[in-house]
Symmetry: C2
Subunit: 338 residues, 2 copies
Amino acid sequence: MKKPESLKKADIIKRIFQQKLPTESYHEKGLAFAPTNIALCKYWGKRNAELNLPMTSSLSIALPEKGAMTSIVFQDKPYDTVILNDEVLAADSGFVQRCVQFLDLFRLEKKWYVKIDIKMNIPVASGLASSACGFASLVLALKDLFNWQLSNRDLSILSRLGSGSAARSLWMGFVEWHAGLTKDGMDCFATPLEIEWPELYIGILALTDKEKKISSREAMQRTVDGSILYNSWPKKVARDLVIIRQALNVKNFALLGGTAESNALTMHATMLSCWPPICYSLPETLAAMQKIWVLRQEGLEVYFTQDAGPHLKLIFLEKDKEQVKTQFPQVEIIRLFD
Amino acid sequence: MKKPESLKKADIIKRIFQQKLPTESYHEKGLAFAPTNIALCKYWGKRNAELNLPMTSSLSIALPEKGAMTSIVFQDKPYDTVILNDEVLAADSGFVQRCVQFLDLFRLEKKWYVKIDIKMNIPVASGLASSACGFASLVLALKDLFNWQLSNRDLSILSRLGSGSAARSLWMGFVEWHAGLTKDGMDCFATPLEIEWPELYIGILALTDKEKKISSREAMQRTVDGSILYNSWPKKVARDLVIIRQALNVKNFALLGGTAESNALTMHATMLSCWPPICYSLPETLAAMQKIWVLRQEGLEVYFTQDAGPHLKLIFLEKDKEQVKTQFPQVEIIRLFD
């Protein structure tokens, strides 16, 4: 028997657009914003690297005013231009190449080139989900440009093809990204949760402005391939997702915070067991964690989560906003709900 | 059917001494030294807490001039006295109670009391295996005092009843502590490896003089009970032991160093997944690790291991002694073989 050829991103584009060309109608300009998102239950590890299909489901909260605003206009040059925060990126930079490859998915018969102008108000490539909001806003800007009539489900799948966690960056509030089961990943998309929690706050504790040395893409692949601890990760996520959903439903803050913190620590723990080890934490990260653990023992209800970078994101309630600010003067406090 | 009663330490003492009283003959004084040991493949987690039977085997290297010198003399008071580094310890201190309970195992018919004088040239209770060399030297001093005619195997078992890793502190050089399979742990003792490696050095990088907040005894129990990552630990140890034995046999330093470092990081990783998390590292620990990773990238062959405390133990070869000293001026370099 012939081994079936593995699916490519282009096959998924065909399924989503069916008989239509994705570029048959267009406006002059596409413009869209997508918020960054902070996972309370992390995405770490892929079951399919080409299609960005994750090993597990994950659950995030959007940061309403933090993210990427992307505009796209056609240009008369025989190449694409990517501008990030008013700086034209080199054509051979990793981010430009990822953008161009993504655009290529939609350049089927007719050739066209664009100028993509992205404004991000979060540090780039430092574990603050810049590629998530970047690709989600790019998909939404393309939707605007080409007047796509697509469901949120399809937009989530398209965003995922650009960057896994971009699947979650299309909504405000809590969002769950479903791992799905099928090989083509047509059941692998995010949906928003119908839960609001106006008292819940996030504080961004940026601890360095250096770019990270190892991309999350590479780190998660190395973890899946080489960490003996990784095989416990799907069990951890399955357990934590049930607990987090429950904590959100009943507004049990300690349960939410503790589960999110433990989930993040376990993700980073799996990386320590790679060889060479992967460690996103800096001494400043550990100092901040230890301060949080002491504060919590003293009665302040503050938890943290950490992504593929050295920064921490504090999780706390409105009532403790002032105390968090006093303890961490450099924190940037984000209100999650209006 | 009646559930068989679980074995107590006293049952093991009876098996070892058979028909004889452990105290039927005695000298005026017992005196012995036992070296501390640094595990290259760690002991983390018990299958039997009463008998200190470990989940896995482990492998260590002794530090020849670091350890505990213990003297025991009888005293005419109706209690035991424990002196540690010239200071009389309070009767209700944890260490005194462990010593008294250990002595009680040998006080069967006749009552006698002793003054135990321990001199340790390593920081106490900070992850430098003070309880390992402490209990091993206590057993050897008791052997001297009571003129025990026991095999090294039995002495290793007795030491283990005092503190798990003390089973390994009876020898210089490389020592393997066998997990064993039996319920009574009579097959759970250490044996020395017939390997010398004169070029191998250890550097103690003490990073604080604070006592640790959580004992390794408590931390390992919490890890076994509550860390979802722990179930991968026995697999990691099984793999690492094979590699380390092989590295010792063929004197492959990179293989030894890398495996020991990965083993330690994985042990600490399992603790991060407890709730509340257990983290022995301080910011200084992480800073030192990162310095080591950078130095290694630059070509200096230095690895580390870490026990239940914030200190690191550097592993390197004689040829790099001066460079290690230059990079870490506070390091205490230990020659392992004469």
